[in-house]
């Protein structure tokens, strides 16, 4: 059991393709790191950016969004909405000082269990190298000393 940082990652997976890919990885006994907590959406187009922000604000170090390949969306075109939201969200998060690689979008079909597993593995390593996010851990909480709340300094005597 190493002391290394274990990222916490939330994965929003679409029911029809990527969730089944995750299942397939499981039944094919393809190992992938347990750091990802999967949340199943009916479609990647259901992904509300609020989910991503909430995940980050609540302690996730990274967020993965997976959906069907473009052109293969079970609901025809909604994964394109996810694509556009993902791009806009990433640009916005950059303005917050967040590394763009902390949020990843992956297309995986139901047959691509191995791909799913390898994406998860590489994402975990990516986040591990970026380090923990700890969003807002120092964020205005009382236990963090604002550097201005200092006791008065000693005045050194200036030699004559």
């Amino acid at each position: 059991m190493t002391d290394q940082f274990e990222p916490t990652i939330i994965g929003f997976t679409c029911n029809w393709c990527s969730y089944r890919a995750a299942d397939l990885a499981g039944t094919a006994r393809i190992k992938y790191p347990p750091n990802v907590r999967l949340i199943r959406l009916m479609c990647s187009g259901r992904l509300d950016p609020t989910f991503v922000f909430k995940a980050l604000a609540s302690g996730a170090d990274g967020v993965m969004i997976t959906g069907c390949h473009p052109g293969e969306c079970h609901y025809i075109e909604q994964n394109y909405k996810a694509l556009r939201r993902f791009h806009l969200m990433r640009r916005t998060l950059q303005g917050f000082g967040l590394e763009p690689t902390r949020v990843r979008l992956v297309w995986a079909s139901a047959a691509e269990g191995a791909k799913f597993a390898s994406e998860v593995a590489s994402f975990v390593e990516e986040i591990r190298s970026l380090g923990p996010l700890h969003w807002g851990k120092n964020n205005g909480k009382d236990d963090v000393q604002s550097p201005t709340q200092q006791s008065k300094p000693e005045i050194a005597e200036v030699p004559a």
């Binding site: 950016p49 609020t50 922000f53 909405k81 694509l83 916005t92 950059q94 000082g97 205005g140 008065k152």
Partner: protein, 332 residues
Amino acid sequence: MTPNAKPKFAMYWAASCGGCEIAVLNIHEKILEVDANFDIVFWPVAMDAKYKDVEAMEDGSILLTLFNGGIRNDENEHIAKLLRRKSKILVAFGSCANEGCIPGLANLSDSRELVYTAYNTITTDNPHQIYPMTSYDVPEGEIHIPTILPVLKTLNQVVDVDYYMPGCPPESKQIAAVIDLVISVLEGKAELPPKGSVIGAGNSTVCDECKRIRNIKSIKSFERIWGIAPDSSLCLLEQGIPCNGPATRSGCDARCPAAGAQCIGCYGPAEDVEDYGARLISSFASVIDSNDPEEIDKILDGLVDPTGQFYRFNLAGSLLKAGVPAWKKEKA
């Protein structure tokens, strides 16, 4: 203590701009009704009561306090807690108290960096690198200025708030309506809404109040408002001008779009919107007319400041509250 003493009223500004005070004065003649129905005990813009006078009041003795301005320093926080103790009903009045408003944008930076910017501008004469100190010894004694907090906070992040009245500032028409409601309640003719309600605003979005014609939006490019001559009868977002109407609460009569300017979102999130910026990201992304990643990127390049666009007023009150630089200090 006269048995018919008028109920007490107070209005205070924390880290604010004074616009809320002016909006209240802009109820014009109605200010006389406020005077007739209330005993105004603390209102620094207009009258001379001091902090010590508030401290001397009995807890809960002020019936209604309108608190505007964000919590930027420890004095703001102290007075917020003081007024919470002294007031029966505390209203977060205006965008700053509700969600941080524009000064909340400071939360994208390390607050220490801000000293270097302000005290090293092109006109600042500071060769000895002097910076303000919260506690300083002058020859006569020790004098103090408040400590700036690491992030700007909203009112309900420091005290319990009874009602929320959004807007930057709240429109005077809405303020007048709320005053009418309060006076009716005092006269026993109406009931206060449930605690925690948003008052003085609508339940829908600015788009609902906007008179411009809306068709199906399909945006091929985002435009700068000065860069085109927009059609004054058509939806601005449809013409590529980034307008925040879709996620912004109604109540303002959509004045800015009526005047040819995009909605910048000063009335805060619409009903049931958990994160204002997220909602806008969703709606803007939905109406972009492209499925090709490269083209999408090019269209998005037209939005030169997405973080500011989506969190202009709402940053401090959003889910994320602040950017990484604001709270991630380098360990010494």
